[in-house]
Amino acid sequence: MGKTFHKPLALSDQVTHYCPGCTHGVIHRLVAEVIDELGIERRTVGIAPVGCAVLMYNYFTFDFLEAAHGRAPAQATGMKRVRPDLVVFTYQGDGDLASIGMGEIIHAANRGEKITVIFVNNAVYGMTGGQMAPTTMPNQRTTTSPFGRRVQEVGMPIKMAELLAALQTPAYIARQTVIKPKFVNKAKKSIKKAFEYQLAGQCFSFVEVVSTCPTNWGLTPVEAVRWAEETMLPYYQLGELKTPE
Protein backbone atom coordinates (compact mmCIF):
# COMPACT_ATOMS: atom_id res chain seq x y z
CA MET A 1 0.00 0.00 0.00
CA GLY A 2 1.55 3.28 -1.04
CA LYS A 3 1.58 6.55 0.84
CA THR A 4 -1.62 8.48 0.44
CA PHE A 5 -0.84 11.33 2.79
CA HIS A 6 2.41 12.81 3.97
CA LYS A 7 3.94 15.83 5.59
CA PRO A 8 4.53 18.55 3.00
CA LEU A 9 8.14 18.69 1.81
CA ALA A 10 8.23 22.41 2.55
CA LEU A 11 7.64 21.75 6.25
CA SER A 12 10.61 20.82 8.39
CA ASP A 13 10.67 18.05 10.99
CA GLN A 14 10.77 20.55 13.83
CA VAL A 15 7.98 20.06 16.35
CA THR A 16 6.08 23.33 16.62
CA HIS A 17 5.70 25.30 19.83
CA TYR A 18 2.11 26.36 19.20
CA CYS A 19 -0.65 25.87 21.78
CA PRO A 20 -3.27 23.15 21.52
CA GLY A 21 -6.09 24.54 19.42
CA CYS A 22 -3.89 27.10 17.68
CA THR A 23 -4.58 27.47 14.00
CA HIS A 24 -0.98 28.35 13.04
CA GLY A 25 -0.24 24.65 12.60
CA VAL A 26 -3.03 24.24 10.06
CA ILE A 27 -2.21 27.46 8.20
CA HIS A 28 1.51 26.62 8.06
CA ARG A 29 0.56 23.28 6.58
CA LEU A 30 -1.69 24.79 3.94
CA VAL A 31 1.04 27.23 2.89
CA ALA A 32 3.55 24.36 2.70
CA GLU A 33 1.18 22.18 0.66
CA VAL A 34 0.63 25.03 -1.80
CA ILE A 35 4.36 25.61 -2.12
CA ASP A 36 4.86 21.87 -2.73
CA GLU A 37 2.10 21.73 -5.34
CA LEU A 38 3.38 24.79 -7.19
CA GLY A 39 6.94 23.47 -6.99
CA ILE A 40 8.30 26.83 -5.85
CA GLU A 41 10.20 25.94 -2.68
CA ARG A 42 13.58 26.70 -4.21
CA ARG A 43 12.69 30.22 -5.21
CA THR A 44 10.46 31.16 -2.29
CA VAL A 45 11.46 33.47 0.53
CA GLY A 46 9.19 33.67 3.55
CA ILE A 47 9.16 36.74 5.74
CA ALA A 48 8.43 35.90 9.36
CA PRO A 49 6.57 38.26 11.69
CA VAL A 50 6.86 39.28 15.28
CA GLY A 51 4.13 37.34 17.04
CA CYS A 52 3.51 33.73 17.93
CA ALA A 53 4.84 32.81 14.51
CA VAL A 54 8.12 34.62 15.14
CA LEU A 55 9.91 31.26 14.97
CA MET A 56 7.98 30.01 11.95
CA TYR A 57 11.21 29.82 10.00
CA ASN A 58 12.06 26.78 12.08
CA TYR A 59 9.07 24.97 10.60
CA PHE A 60 9.79 25.52 6.91
CA THR A 61 12.63 24.30 4.75
CA PHE A 62 13.28 27.29 2.48
CA ASP A 63 14.88 30.76 2.74
CA PHE A 64 13.43 33.00 5.40
CA LEU A 65 13.93 36.60 6.49
CA GLU A 66 12.90 37.73 9.95
CA ALA A 67 10.94 40.98 9.91
CA ALA A 68 10.58 43.76 12.42
CA HIS A 69 7.12 44.13 13.91
CA GLY A 70 4.75 45.28 11.18
CA ARG A 71 7.45 45.89 8.61
CA ALA A 72 7.23 42.64 6.65
CA PRO A 73 5.36 44.20 3.71
CA ALA A 74 8.10 46.83 3.38
CA GLN A 75 10.82 44.18 3.57
CA ALA A 76 8.90 42.13 1.03
CA THR A 77 8.64 45.20 -1.21
CA GLY A 78 12.40 45.77 -1.15
CA MET A 79 13.10 42.11 -1.83
CA LYS A 80 10.54 41.63 -4.59
CA ARG A 81 11.49 44.84 -6.38
CA VAL A 82 15.16 43.87 -6.62
CA ARG A 83 14.49 40.16 -7.25
CA PRO A 84 11.11 39.91 -9.00
CA ASP A 85 11.82 36.27 -9.85
CA LEU A 86 11.63 35.26 -6.18
CA VAL A 87 8.28 34.25 -4.67
CA VAL A 88 7.97 36.46 -1.61
CA PHE A 89 5.31 36.08 1.05
CA THR A 90 4.68 37.54 4.47
CA TYR A 91 2.80 35.85 7.29
CA GLN A 92 1.53 38.23 9.92
CA GLY A 93 -0.73 38.43 12.97
CA ASP A 94 -3.18 41.16 13.98
CA GLY A 95 -0.80 43.32 15.95
CA ASP A 96 1.86 43.02 13.30
CA LEU A 97 -0.32 43.78 10.31
CA ALA A 98 -3.24 45.85 11.59
CA SER A 99 -1.62 47.89 14.30
CA ILE A 100 2.01 48.85 13.98
CA GLY A 101 2.17 47.65 10.39
CA MET A 102 -0.96 49.38 9.13
CA GLY A 103 0.98 51.89 7.07
CA GLU A 104 3.19 49.29 5.48
CA ILE A 105 0.38 46.92 4.49
CA ILE A 106 -1.83 49.60 2.99
CA HIS A 107 0.95 51.09 0.94
CA ALA A 108 2.30 47.75 -0.26
CA ALA A 109 -1.22 46.79 -1.32
CA ASN A 110 -1.84 50.15 -2.90
CA ARG A 111 1.37 50.05 -4.90
CA GLY A 112 0.31 46.62 -6.09
CA GLU A 113 3.48 44.92 -4.87
CA LYS A 114 3.52 41.45 -6.38
CA ILE A 115 3.77 39.74 -3.01
CA THR A 116 1.48 37.44 -1.06
CA VAL A 117 0.33 38.24 2.47
CA ILE A 118 -1.16 35.68 4.84
CA PHE A 119 -2.94 37.51 7.68
CA VAL A 120 -3.72 35.44 10.77
CA ASN A 121 -6.57 37.19 12.57
CA ASN A 122 -7.26 35.86 16.08
CA ALA A 123 -8.57 39.08 17.60
CA VAL A 124 -5.80 39.34 20.18
CA TYR A 125 -2.05 39.79 20.68
CA GLY A 126 -0.96 36.22 21.23
CA MET A 127 2.75 36.19 21.81
CA THR A 128 2.86 39.04 24.30
CA GLY A 129 0.19 37.47 26.47
CA GLY A 130 -3.24 38.48 25.23
CA GLN A 131 -3.49 42.25 24.87
CA MET A 132 -6.15 43.99 22.81
CA ALA A 133 -5.69 44.10 19.05
CA PRO A 134 -7.26 46.35 16.41
CA THR A 135 -9.28 43.25 15.51
CA THR A 136 -10.49 42.52 19.05
CA MET A 137 -14.32 42.17 19.11
CA PRO A 138 -16.59 44.63 20.97
CA ASN A 139 -16.79 43.74 24.67
CA GLN A 140 -14.11 41.10 24.29
CA ARG A 141 -11.94 40.94 27.40
CA THR A 142 -8.20 41.06 26.94
CA THR A 143 -5.35 41.88 29.29
CA THR A 144 -5.47 45.55 28.21
CA SER A 145 -9.25 45.70 27.94
CA PRO A 146 -10.13 43.96 31.18
CA PHE A 147 -13.68 45.34 31.14
CA GLY A 148 -14.16 44.35 27.54
CA ARG A 149 -13.35 46.34 24.39
CA ARG A 150 -15.20 49.63 24.91
CA VAL A 151 -16.15 50.74 21.46
CA GLN A 152 -16.91 54.31 22.58
CA GLU A 153 -13.30 54.63 23.74
CA VAL A 154 -11.31 52.71 21.17
CA GLY A 155 -13.58 52.20 18.20
CA MET A 156 -14.76 49.15 16.33
CA PRO A 157 -12.55 46.27 15.19
CA ILE A 158 -10.89 46.81 11.82
CA LYS A 159 -11.92 44.69 8.87
CA MET A 160 -8.60 44.46 7.08
CA ALA A 161 -9.81 42.56 4.04
CA GLU A 162 -12.50 45.18 3.34
CA LEU A 163 -10.06 48.02 4.00
CA LEU A 164 -7.58 46.69 1.47
CA ALA A 165 -10.31 45.73 -1.00
CA ALA A 166 -11.40 49.39 -1.02
CA LEU A 167 -8.08 50.46 -2.57
CA GLN A 168 -8.28 51.23 -6.26
CA THR A 169 -5.32 49.11 -7.32
CA PRO A 170 -6.29 45.64 -8.62
CA ALA A 171 -5.57 42.89 -6.11
CA TYR A 172 -6.68 39.48 -4.85
CA ILE A 173 -8.23 39.96 -1.42
CA ALA A 174 -9.86 37.04 0.40
CA ARG A 175 -10.94 36.08 3.88
CA GLN A 176 -11.16 32.47 4.94
CA THR A 177 -10.92 30.46 8.14
CA VAL A 178 -9.56 27.11 9.26
CA ILE A 179 -11.53 26.73 12.48
CA LYS A 180 -13.54 23.79 11.15
CA PRO A 181 -12.74 21.13 8.58
CA LYS A 182 -15.49 22.33 6.25
CA PHE A 183 -13.68 25.65 5.85
CA VAL A 184 -10.15 24.36 5.44
CA ASN A 185 -10.28 23.41 1.76
CA LYS A 186 -11.65 26.81 0.80
CA ALA A 187 -8.82 28.40 2.77
CA LYS A 188 -6.27 26.34 0.91
CA LYS A 189 -7.84 27.25 -2.41
CA SER A 190 -7.57 30.95 -1.63
CA ILE A 191 -3.99 30.60 -0.48
CA LYS A 192 -3.12 28.73 -3.65
CA LYS A 193 -4.84 31.34 -5.81
CA ALA A 194 -2.93 34.05 -3.97
CA PHE A 195 0.41 32.43 -4.81
CA GLU A 196 -0.70 31.80 -8.38
CA TYR A 197 -1.46 35.49 -8.85
CA GLN A 198 2.07 36.23 -7.68
CA LEU A 199 3.53 33.65 -10.04
CA ALA A 200 1.65 35.29 -12.90
CA GLY A 201 3.14 38.63 -11.82
CA GLN A 202 -0.33 39.97 -11.79
CA CYS A 203 -1.14 41.69 -8.51
CA PHE A 204 -0.91 41.98 -4.75
CA SER A 205 -2.54 39.01 -3.01
CA PHE A 206 -3.89 38.85 0.54
CA VAL A 207 -5.64 36.08 2.46
CA GLU A 208 -6.98 36.87 5.91
CA VAL A 209 -7.50 33.69 7.96
CA VAL A 210 -9.89 33.96 10.91
CA SER A 211 -8.20 32.01 13.67
CA THR A 212 -8.58 30.90 17.27
CA CYS A 213 -6.37 31.63 20.27
CA PRO A 214 -7.72 29.44 23.08
CA THR A 215 -4.90 30.34 25.45
CA ASN A 216 -5.42 34.09 25.36
CA TRP A 217 -9.18 33.91 24.97
CA GLY A 218 -9.28 31.87 28.17
CA LEU A 219 -11.29 29.14 26.46
CA THR A 220 -10.76 25.49 25.65
CA PRO A 221 -9.97 24.78 22.01
CA VAL A 222 -13.52 23.53 21.47
CA GLU A 223 -15.06 26.60 23.17
CA ALA A 224 -12.73 28.78 21.15
CA VAL A 225 -14.00 27.35 17.88
CA ARG A 226 -17.56 27.99 19.02
CA TRP A 227 -16.79 31.55 20.07
CA ALA A 228 -15.03 32.27 16.78
CA GLU A 229 -17.99 30.89 14.81
CA GLU A 230 -20.58 32.82 16.81
CA THR A 231 -18.75 36.10 17.31
CA MET A 232 -16.08 36.50 14.64
CA LEU A 233 -17.54 34.93 11.49
CA PRO A 234 -20.67 37.12 11.37
CA TYR A 235 -18.39 40.19 11.52
CA TYR A 236 -15.39 38.98 9.54
CA GLN A 237 -17.29 37.56 6.60
CA LEU A 238 -15.67 34.90 4.48
CA GLY A 239 -15.20 34.98 0.75
CA GLU A 240 -13.20 36.50 -2.06
CA LEU A 241 -13.69 40.24 -1.61
CA LYS A 242 -11.77 41.28 -4.65
CA THR A 243 -10.10 39.71 -7.62
CA PRO A 244 -7.91 41.58 -10.08
CA GLU A 245 -10.08 40.79 -13.08
Binding site: I47, Y57, L65, R71, V82, R83, G103, H107
Partner: protein
Protein backbone atom coordinates in the same frame (compact mmCIF):
# COMPACT_ATOMS: atom_id res chain seq x y z
CA UNK B 1 37.87 61.25 -16.96
CA UNK B 2 36.21 64.62 -17.43
CA UNK B 3 35.00 66.92 -14.68
CA UNK B 4 31.37 67.88 -14.42
CA UNK B 5 29.77 70.55 -12.28
CA UNK B 6 27.23 68.80 -10.11
CA UNK B 7 25.01 69.45 -7.15
CA UNK B 8 26.14 67.32 -4.20
CA UNK B 9 22.88 65.44 -3.88
CA UNK B 10 22.87 64.52 -7.56
CA UNK B 11 26.54 63.56 -7.50
CA UNK B 12 25.84 61.23 -4.58
CA UNK B 13 23.11 59.56 -6.59
CA UNK B 14 25.35 59.22 -9.62
CA UNK B 15 28.18 57.89 -7.46
CA UNK B 16 26.03 55.01 -6.25
CA UNK B 17 25.27 54.06 -9.83
CA UNK B 18 28.96 54.23 -10.72
CA UNK B 19 29.60 51.96 -7.73
CA UNK B 20 27.31 49.34 -9.24
CA UNK B 21 24.35 50.04 -6.99
CA UNK B 22 21.20 50.21 -9.08
CA UNK B 23 18.65 49.98 -6.27
CA UNK B 24 17.38 52.98 -4.32
CA UNK B 25 14.43 53.40 -1.98
CA UNK B 26 13.88 56.76 -0.35
CA UNK B 27 11.51 59.34 1.09
CA UNK B 28 11.65 63.05 0.30
CA UNK B 29 13.06 65.35 2.98
CA UNK B 30 14.82 68.67 2.72
CA UNK B 31 17.75 69.16 2.06
CA UNK B 32 18.29 65.92 0.14
CA UNK B 33 15.21 65.32 -2.00
CA UNK B 34 17.20 66.02 -5.13
CA UNK B 35 18.84 62.60 -4.80
CA UNK B 36 15.48 60.90 -5.29
CA UNK B 37 14.49 63.31 -8.03
CA UNK B 38 17.74 62.63 -9.89
CA UNK B 39 17.59 58.86 -9.45
CA UNK B 40 13.89 58.64 -10.33
CA UNK B 41 15.00 59.49 -13.84
CA UNK B 42 18.46 57.97 -13.93
CA UNK B 43 17.77 54.51 -12.44
CA UNK B 44 15.07 53.52 -14.94
CA UNK B 45 17.53 54.59 -17.66
CA UNK B 46 20.01 52.12 -16.17
CA UNK B 47 17.46 49.32 -15.72
CA UNK B 48 17.63 49.80 -11.97
CA UNK B 49 15.05 49.95 -9.21
CA UNK B 50 13.73 53.25 -7.90
CA UNK B 51 10.90 53.45 -5.39
CA UNK B 52 9.69 56.31 -3.25
CA UNK B 53 8.49 54.61 -0.06
CA UNK B 54 5.67 55.85 2.15
CA UNK B 55 7.89 56.86 5.07
CA UNK B 56 11.46 56.61 6.20
CA UNK B 57 10.43 53.78 8.49
CA UNK B 58 9.15 51.78 5.52
CA UNK B 59 12.16 52.76 3.43
CA UNK B 60 14.61 51.46 6.03
CA UNK B 61 12.88 48.09 5.80
CA UNK B 62 12.79 48.10 2.01
CA UNK B 63 16.54 48.55 2.24
CA UNK B 64 16.71 45.58 4.61
CA UNK B 65 14.63 43.38 2.29
CA UNK B 66 16.69 44.24 -0.76
CA UNK B 67 19.98 43.78 1.10
CA UNK B 68 18.78 40.44 2.50
CA UNK B 69 18.11 39.34 -1.08
CA UNK B 70 21.80 39.94 -1.74
CA UNK B 71 21.57 43.12 -3.82
CA UNK B 72 23.47 46.38 -3.46
CA UNK B 73 21.07 49.03 -2.20
CA UNK B 74 21.19 52.45 -0.60
CA UNK B 75 19.08 55.28 0.68
CA UNK B 76 19.50 58.92 1.54
CA UNK B 77 17.72 60.97 4.16
CA UNK B 78 18.23 63.79 6.62
CA UNK B 79 18.31 63.94 10.40
CA UNK B 80 14.63 63.41 11.36
CA UNK B 81 14.37 60.75 8.67
CA UNK B 82 17.47 59.03 9.95
CA UNK B 83 15.87 58.91 13.39
CA UNK B 84 13.01 57.00 11.78
CA UNK B 85 15.45 54.56 10.21
CA UNK B 86 17.14 53.86 13.52
CA UNK B 87 15.22 50.66 14.26
CA UNK B 88 15.68 49.29 10.77
CA UNK B 89 19.40 49.98 10.90
CA UNK B 90 19.67 48.15 14.22
CA UNK B 91 17.93 45.16 12.66
CA UNK B 92 20.34 45.20 9.73
CA UNK B 93 23.33 45.36 12.04
CA UNK B 94 22.01 42.45 14.10
CA UNK B 95 21.20 40.45 10.99
CA UNK B 96 24.52 41.40 9.35
CA UNK B 97 23.19 42.88 6.14
CA UNK B 98 25.19 45.42 4.13
CA UNK B 99 23.80 48.66 2.73
CA UNK B 100 24.68 52.34 2.51
CA UNK B 101 22.79 55.07 4.36
CA UNK B 102 23.47 58.73 3.60
CA UNK B 103 22.55 61.41 6.15
CA UNK B 104 22.48 64.94 4.76
CA UNK B 105 22.33 66.60 8.16
CA UNK B 106 20.00 69.48 8.89
CA UNK B 107 19.24 71.46 12.04
CA UNK B 108 17.64 69.70 14.98
CA UNK B 109 16.44 68.48 17.38
CA UNK B 110 12.87 67.78 16.30
CA UNK B 111 11.72 69.47 13.14
CA UNK B 112 14.68 71.84 13.65
CA UNK B 113 15.57 73.55 10.41
CA UNK B 114 16.41 72.81 6.81
CA UNK B 115 19.86 74.35 6.80
CA UNK B 116 23.10 72.42 7.40
CA UNK B 117 24.23 71.11 10.77
CA UNK B 118 26.55 68.51 12.20
CA UNK B 119 24.25 67.71 15.08
CA UNK B 120 23.80 64.01 14.32
CA UNK B 121 27.39 63.09 15.18
CA UNK B 122 26.51 61.25 18.37
CA UNK B 123 23.56 59.57 16.68
CA UNK B 124 25.77 58.35 13.82
CA UNK B 125 28.76 57.27 15.86
CA UNK B 126 27.26 56.13 19.15
CA UNK B 127 23.52 55.81 18.99
CA UNK B 128 22.36 54.88 15.52
CA UNK B 129 20.23 52.04 16.85
CA UNK B 130 19.41 50.08 19.96
CA UNK B 131 21.80 47.39 21.10
CA UNK B 132 25.52 47.16 20.42
CA UNK B 133 25.06 48.81 17.10
CA UNK B 134 27.82 50.62 15.21
CA UNK B 135 28.17 51.81 11.67
CA UNK B 136 31.31 52.63 9.78
CA UNK B 137 30.76 56.38 9.27
CA UNK B 138 32.48 58.34 6.51
CA UNK B 139 32.39 62.16 6.61
CA UNK B 140 33.00 63.96 3.32
CA UNK B 141 34.06 67.59 3.15
CA UNK B 142 33.36 68.22 -0.53
CA UNK B 143 31.17 66.95 -3.31
CA UNK B 144 34.17 65.14 -4.82
CA UNK B 145 34.92 63.46 -1.53
CA UNK B 146 31.26 62.54 -1.10
CA UNK B 147 31.38 60.81 -4.48
CA UNK B 148 34.52 58.88 -3.57
CA UNK B 149 33.17 57.92 -0.17
CA UNK B 150 29.86 56.71 -1.60
CA UNK B 151 31.77 54.57 -4.07
CA UNK B 152 33.94 52.99 -1.38
CA UNK B 153 31.01 52.58 1.00
CA UNK B 154 29.51 49.65 -0.91
CA UNK B 155 32.55 47.36 -0.83
CA UNK B 156 33.14 48.41 2.78
CA UNK B 157 29.58 47.47 3.72
CA UNK B 158 30.09 44.11 2.04
CA UNK B 159 33.50 43.60 3.64
CA UNK B 160 31.92 43.95 7.07
CA UNK B 161 28.38 42.75 6.28
CA UNK B 162 27.28 45.88 8.10
CA UNK B 163 25.58 49.11 7.05
CA UNK B 164 27.89 52.03 6.29
CA UNK B 165 26.85 55.65 6.73
CA UNK B 166 27.94 58.72 4.79
CA UNK B 167 27.58 61.69 7.14
CA UNK B 168 27.16 64.79 5.03
CA UNK B 169 25.34 68.04 5.62
CA UNK B 170 22.96 70.32 3.79
CA UNK B 171 25.74 72.40 2.31
CA UNK B 172 27.44 69.41 0.70
CA UNK B 173 24.06 68.24 -0.54
CA UNK B 174 23.04 71.54 -2.05
CA UNK B 175 26.21 73.11 -3.41
CA UNK B 176 27.60 72.57 -6.87
CA UNK B 177 31.24 71.66 -7.28
CA UNK B 178 33.36 70.08 -10.02
CA UNK B 179 33.30 66.29 -9.81
CA UNK B 180 35.31 63.56 -11.45
CA UNK B 181 33.88 60.05 -11.08
CA UNK B 182 36.87 57.77 -10.38
CA UNK B 183 37.03 54.57 -12.42
CA UNK B 184 39.34 52.93 -9.92
CA UNK B 185 36.68 52.94 -7.22
CA UNK B 186 34.32 50.73 -9.24
CA UNK B 187 33.96 47.35 -7.56
CA UNK B 188 31.85 44.34 -8.42
CA UNK B 189 29.41 43.20 -5.75
CA UNK B 190 30.74 40.39 -3.58
CA UNK B 191 29.28 36.88 -3.68
CA UNK B 192 26.56 36.70 -1.08
CA UNK B 193 25.49 33.09 -1.43
CA UNK B 194 26.94 32.25 1.96
CA UNK B 195 24.22 34.15 3.76
CA UNK B 196 21.71 35.93 1.50
CA UNK B 197 18.09 34.80 1.18
CA UNK B 198 18.19 34.97 -2.59
CA UNK B 199 16.45 31.62 -3.16
CA UNK B 200 17.95 28.14 -3.02
CA UNK B 201 17.66 27.95 -6.80
CA UNK B 202 19.89 31.01 -7.21
CA UNK B 203 22.54 29.39 -5.07
CA UNK B 204 22.01 25.97 -6.67
CA UNK B 205 21.90 24.68 -3.13
CA UNK B 206 19.70 22.43 -1.02
CA UNK B 207 20.61 24.39 2.06
CA UNK B 208 18.38 27.25 2.95
CA UNK B 209 19.59 30.55 4.37
CA UNK B 210 18.00 32.36 7.29
CA UNK B 211 18.48 36.04 8.07
CA UNK B 212 17.50 37.12 11.55
CA UNK B 213 18.59 39.04 14.59
CA UNK B 214 16.53 37.22 17.25
CA UNK B 215 18.51 34.88 19.51
CA UNK B 216 16.42 33.88 22.49
CA UNK B 217 19.24 31.78 23.90
CA UNK B 218 21.44 34.26 25.81
CA UNK B 219 24.61 32.41 24.86
CA UNK B 220 23.75 32.56 21.19
CA UNK B 221 22.88 36.25 21.42
CA UNK B 222 26.16 36.93 23.17
CA UNK B 223 27.91 34.99 20.40
CA UNK B 224 26.24 37.19 17.80
CA UNK B 225 27.34 40.27 19.67
CA UNK B 226 30.89 38.98 19.86
CA UNK B 227 30.84 38.66 16.09
CA UNK B 228 29.63 42.24 15.79
CA UNK B 229 32.21 43.50 18.27
CA UNK B 230 34.97 41.79 16.33
CA UNK B 231 33.84 43.73 13.27
CA UNK B 232 33.92 47.04 15.11
CA UNK B 233 37.37 46.23 16.48
CA UNK B 234 38.55 45.40 12.97
CA UNK B 235 37.10 48.68 11.68
CA UNK B 236 39.09 50.52 14.33
CA UNK B 237 42.25 48.83 13.14
CA UNK B 238 41.77 48.96 9.39
CA UNK B 239 39.42 51.79 8.43
CA UNK B 240 40.59 54.96 10.21
CA UNK B 241 40.84 57.78 7.69
CA UNK B 242 41.82 61.36 8.39
CA UNK B 243 43.58 64.33 6.84
CA UNK B 244 46.21 66.37 8.66
CA UNK B 245 46.45 70.04 7.70
CA UNK B 246 49.36 72.29 8.60
CA UNK B 247 50.62 69.86 11.22
CA UNK B 248 54.17 69.39 9.92
CA UNK B 249 55.56 72.44 11.69
CA UNK B 250 54.74 73.91 15.08
CA UNK B 251 51.31 75.17 16.04
CA UNK B 252 49.81 76.51 19.23
CA UNK B 253 46.25 75.37 18.62
CA UNK B 254 45.06 72.07 17.16
CA UNK B 255 41.62 72.13 15.54
CA UNK B 256 39.63 68.96 15.09
CA UNK B 257 36.85 69.49 12.58
CA UNK B 258 35.10 67.50 9.85
CA UNK B 259 32.91 68.00 6.81
CA UNK B 260 31.82 71.47 5.76
CA UNK B 261 33.04 72.97 9.04
CA UNK B 262 36.57 71.77 8.31
CA UNK B 263 36.66 73.76 5.09
CA UNK B 264 35.85 76.94 6.95
CA UNK B 265 38.56 76.05 9.47
CA UNK B 266 41.02 75.50 6.64
CA UNK B 267 40.38 79.03 5.37
CA UNK B 268 40.76 80.35 8.92
CA UNK B 269 44.06 78.47 9.31
CA UNK B 270 45.37 79.91 6.02
CA UNK B 271 44.43 83.45 7.01
CA UNK B 272 45.89 83.09 10.51
CA UNK B 273 49.13 81.81 8.97
CA UNK B 274 49.40 85.11 7.08
CA UNK B 275 49.19 86.86 10.43
CA UNK B 276 51.93 84.65 11.80
CA UNK B 277 49.64 82.47 13.92
CA UNK B 278 50.11 78.74 13.32
CA UNK B 279 47.14 76.41 13.76
CA UNK B 280 47.08 72.73 12.86
CA UNK B 281 44.05 70.60 12.04
CA UNK B 282 43.14 66.94 12.08
CA UNK B 283 40.14 66.37 9.85
CA UNK B 284 38.47 63.03 10.54
CA UNK B 285 37.30 61.39 7.34
CA UNK B 286 35.90 58.53 9.37
CA UNK B 287 34.06 59.62 12.52
CA UNK B 288 33.60 55.97 13.40
CA UNK B 289 36.25 54.76 13.80
CA UNK B 290 37.48 58.07 15.18
CA UNK B 291 41.15 58.88 14.45
CA UNK B 292 42.10 58.75 18.14
CA UNK B 293 45.78 58.07 17.61
CA UNK B 294 46.18 60.86 15.06
CA UNK B 295 44.41 63.37 17.30
CA UNK B 296 46.40 62.32 20.36
CA UNK B 297 49.70 62.53 18.50
CA UNK B 298 48.90 65.93 17.02
CA UNK B 299 47.73 67.24 20.38
CA UNK B 300 50.92 66.15 22.12
CA UNK B 301 53.14 68.25 19.87
CA UNK B 302 55.25 70.31 22.23
CA UNK B 303 54.12 73.61 20.75
CA UNK B 304 50.46 72.71 20.97
CA UNK B 305 48.81 74.25 24.02
CA UNK B 306 45.12 73.70 23.39
CA UNK B 307 42.82 71.54 21.26
CA UNK B 308 39.57 72.85 19.80
CA UNK B 309 36.68 70.80 18.52
CA UNK B 310 34.88 72.98 16.02
CA UNK B 311 31.56 71.59 14.84
CA UNK B 312 28.08 72.70 13.83
CA UNK B 313 26.43 71.31 16.92
CA UNK B 314 26.26 72.11 20.59
CA UNK B 315 29.31 69.93 21.18
CA UNK B 316 29.17 66.29 20.15
CA UNK B 317 32.52 65.35 18.61
CA UNK B 318 34.21 67.24 21.47
CA UNK B 319 33.69 64.17 23.68
CA UNK B 320 35.64 61.96 21.27
CA UNK B 321 38.37 64.63 21.08
CA UNK B 322 38.61 64.78 24.88
CA UNK B 323 38.88 61.02 25.03
CA UNK B 324 41.60 60.94 22.36
CA UNK B 325 43.60 63.71 24.05
CA UNK B 326 43.46 61.84 27.38
CA UNK B 327 43.73 64.98 29.44
CA UNK B 328 47.15 65.93 28.06
CA UNK B 329 45.86 69.27 26.77
CA UNK B 330 42.76 71.33 27.49
CA UNK B 331 39.99 70.70 24.96
CA UNK B 332 37.66 73.53 23.99
CA UNK B 333 34.60 73.64 21.79
CA UNK B 334 33.20 76.16 19.35
CA UNK B 335 30.09 75.82 17.22
CA UNK B 336 26.78 77.07 16.02
CA UNK B 337 23.76 75.01 15.40
CA UNK B 338 20.90 76.96 13.87
CA UNK B 339 21.85 76.33 10.28
CA UNK B 340 24.33 79.18 9.82
CA UNK B 341 27.73 77.90 8.89
CA UNK B 342 30.30 79.73 11.02
CA UNK B 343 32.47 82.09 8.97
CA UNK B 344 36.27 81.96 8.84
CA UNK B 345 36.27 85.23 10.79
CA UNK B 346 34.27 83.68 13.61
CA UNK B 347 36.65 80.73 13.73
CA UNK B 348 39.66 83.06 13.74
CA UNK B 349 38.20 85.11 16.57
CA UNK B 350 37.64 81.95 18.60
CA UNK B 351 41.09 80.52 17.88
CA UNK B 352 42.91 83.75 18.69
CA UNK B 353 40.99 83.95 21.97
CA UNK B 354 42.37 80.51 22.83
CA UNK B 355 45.91 81.37 21.89
CA UNK B 356 45.77 84.40 24.15
Amino acid sequence: MSKVLMKGNEAIGEAAIRAGCLNYFAYPITPQSEVAEYLSRRLPEMGGVFLQGESEVAVSYMIFGAAAAGERVFTTSSSPGISLMSEGISYMVGAQCPAVFVNIMRGGPGLGGILPSQADYLQATKGIGHGDCRLLVLAPASVQEAVEMVMTAFPLAEKYRNPVMILGDGLIGQMMEPVEFPDHLKTAPSNKDGWAVNGMETRKSDRRNLIRSLYLDPEKLNDNNLILKAKYDRMKKEEVRFEAYNTDGDYGVLIVSYGTMSRVCRTAIDQLKERGIEVGMIRPQTVFPFPETAVEKAARKKSCRVVASIEMSMGQMVEDVERAVKGKRPVKWYGKCGGDVPTPEEVMTFVTSLAA
